[in-house]
């Protein structure tokens, strides 16, 4: 009894199986002209067999967009590799409805290797395609929000730097900045150049530790705190001490390094007074080519209870350059090698007869090139030149 049942099943009528298989079948000529179609496909689409066999091509069953895709991608692949798999298209049903399907096709050739017909299997993919459409929407949304986050980061970053540097009268000041990586994350470097009173100017450059939104908030605060305090006191160390207090009070978990330079004109020339809160000291190149640093490195701002900060004053001479920079310069890495102080000094020495902006741009470009074009950290450079 059971044996007989299985035997009968094994001989499942091929004709009947073809017609009512759980997928649609078509056989076409190499150009797509439909020669044979099974009942399943007719039932799914509502088309009448006679209509389809009146010279209709398979690609004509597809909506226009899918048809272009078929002609430009699928047909060439069929001809070149003899098959296609899991092609996602729609079939236009007799009532105009679109049935999402997946298509597998195989080219059947004659003994000479010439394509004779195409066998096509069609699978109803309504559920699957709906799910894929949701995935695609979700992916687009994720991409959009990522793009928005990057745009936000860039906008925020732009507020850390002056849109254009205005050089104090009788001085030449330039600045250059390059964000880390692709610029999609906000870094913590900032600089500013502004007038603090009649004939006195300030140049500040700093680096808030960390990245991302929390660092950005502190960076913004640091830049504006410095601006406000610099109008109240002529002493660079007092400006940095005030920034230290702000950090300790409002952002005890954050710290930053900064160098503040006050510039004013005396009878002997341009006087530069500098204070450093844990930051690299400015490098001076004198007219005779010799290099030195100006000032004393104090304590990192926001870290200790009582900061140790000092002011150092020096007179600049015509032809002198002073270079302020963040550690994105000296700590730039290539494999196991750092850009380091020596390379920076060499780079400053090498560039003769340039303006402040040109020197700043040149240094950033060289650091970037050293890292093969990808900055691991933000790079900021400000150059003061006495013409």
């Amino acid at each position: 009894m059971v044996d007989g049942f299985y035997a009968a099943l094994r001989e499942d009528d091929p004709e009947e199986l073809y017609d009512n298989a759980p997928c649609g079948y078509l056989s076409t000529l190499p150009d797509g002209t439909i020669a044979k179609v099974n009942q399943t496909l007719l039932t799914w689409t509502g088309h009448h067999r006679e209509e389809l066999l009146e010279g209709r091509r398979f690609q004509q069953m597809l909506p226009a967009g899918d048809r272009i895709f078929y002609e430009t991608h699928v047909a060439p692949m069929l001809r070149m590799q003899g098959y296609v798999r899991e092609i996602a298209v729609h079939l236009v049903c007799r009532d105009g409805r679109r049935l999402p399907v997946l298509v597998n096709s195989v080219v059947k050739r004659d003994a000479a290797g010439e394509p004779r017909r195409i066998r096509i299997a069609v699978f109803d993919a309504t559920e699957r395609r709906a799910y894929e459409a949701e995935l695609l929407t979700a992916r687009r949304r994720a991409e959009d929000s990522e793009a928005r986050a990057t745009a936000l980061a860039r906008t925020l970053q732009a507020t850390f730097l002056p849109p254009a540097i205005v050089s104090p009268p009788g001085l030449d000041v330039g600045g250059a900045y390059r964000p880390a990586g692709d610029g999609s994350e906000v870094g913590g470097d900032f600089y500013d150049v502004f007038e603090t009173g009649r004939g006195t100017w300030a140049v500040v450059l700093g680096d808030v530790c960390g990245k991302g939104l929390s660092a950005a908030v502190v960076t913004s605060l640091a830049r504006y705190s410095v601006r406000a305090e610099a109008l109240r006191t002529p002493y660079p160390c007092a400006v940095l001490a005030s920034l230290h207090d702000v950090l300790v009070r409002y952002h005890p978990e954050q710290f930053c390094t900064a160098v503040f330079v006050a510039l004013d004109r005396t009878a002997e020339g341009v006087r530069l007074t500098v204070s450093s809160g844990g930051h690299h000291l400015p490098i001076r190149r004198r007219r005779d080519g010799s290099l030195d640093t100006i000032g004393e490195t104090g304590t990192i701002l926001g870290m200790l209870d009582t900061p140790r900060l000092t002011d150092t004053a020096t007179l600049l001479q015509p032809g002198d350059f002073v270079v302020l920079y963040t550690d994105g310069v000296t700590e730039a890495r290539r494999d196991d090698e750092f850009f380091d102080d020596d390379r920076l000094r060499a780079a400053i020495s090498r560039r003769h007869g340039v303006g402040a902006q040109e020197l700043a741009d040149g240094l950033v470009a060289e650091v970037l090139e050293f890292q093969r074009g990808v900055a691991r950290d933000d790079i900021a450079v400000v150059v003061i030149r006495v013409p």
Partner: protein, 272 residues
């Protein structure tokens, strides 16, 4: 050849064969695939011509890192690829054979540097795919959105099916496994952009810019992408062009009817 020229040959995956002393014949593939589209046609000219095949940046074996969103935002960027290749090899009196969108790319290239071109063969050309008042291009903007959606959904399917699975006629594969894996498949974002440039553009005005050049327009029967009316439009607006209708059907006679395609081009070049 200078360094820049050598870079172009790598960038555009240029393949030169045929008769080194022959007249240069430059084959440009259309939207969708790559220079393999000429696999059955180019060899038909190798005895007499120096055949040059290439992939546009963004297609086939080209250097995808050279893809520049702005440059390739119009067909002019693609025409520059053609001119770059022609310049790198210092080709003169070129027989340019362009399929599909490359027909118009050839028109733009010939208008920009007429001194390099000797004849144009345009297979399935269309200067505008979208209908416009009296002009029938065959498609609506919605259709093109449908194409972009189609590209998207097939990208999803393909990402998991990238490995070359040989089925069916494994004993007679036209392509090696390596090509099978890459044929007609490229960066989906580039493909989307190329689709937009191809199908949303309007180059009808450019047809008037090539004058005095022998042009052959090859029109397929029953081409759903470039219908007969469009082929006739191109022929009527290209002064001195010849229109030849192939009995081959579909949009790719270079694949489906290479012999007929070769014969039509050869007869045109031989002044037939």
């Amino acid at each position: 050849m200078d360094a820049v020229g050598a870079d172009v040959l790598v960038r555009n995956n240029v393949t030169v064969s045929g008769n080194p002393d022959g007249r240069p014949m430059l084959f440009a593939h259309g939207f969708g695939c790559d220079q393999n589209m000429w696999r059955f046609v180019a060899p038909g000219f190798e005895d007499r011509y120096r055949t040059v095949l290439f992939d546009y940046v963004g297609a086939g074996g080209s250097d995808l890192s050279a893809y520049d969103v702005e440059r390739y935002a119009t067909l002019d960027g693609y025409a520059r690829d053609v001119l770059d290749v022609a310049q790198a090899l210092d080709l003169r009196d070129v027989v340019y054979v362009g399929h599909s969108v490359s027909a118009m790319v050839g028109v733009l290239a010939a208008a920009a540097a007429p001194e390099r071109f000797g004849a144009l063969v345009l297979i399935g050309p269309s200067p505008r795919y979208i209908d416009d008042e009296d002009y029938v291009g065959g498609f609506t903007e919605d259709d093109i959105q449908g194409l972009l959606a189609s590209l998207d959904s097939n990208y999803l399917g393909w990402s998991s099916a990238m490995a070359p699975v040989i089925m069916g006629n494994a004993d007679r594969p036209e392509l090696g496994a390596e090509l099978t894996a890459s044929f007609c498949r490229t960066d989906p974002e580039i493909q989307r952009r190329f689709a937009r440039v191809t199908f949303l553009g309007d180059n009808r005005q450019d047809l008037g810019r090539v004058a005095g050049l022998p042009v052959l327009v090859l029109q397929c029967s029953d081409d759903v992408i470039a219908p007969e009316a469009v082929g006739r439009y191109v022929h009527e607006h290209l002064s001195g062009s010849q229109l030849v209708k192939l009995s081959a059907t579909g949009h790719c006679p270079n694949l489906s009817a290479p012999e007929e395609t070769i014969a039509a081009i050869a007869s045109f070049l031989d002044g037939g």
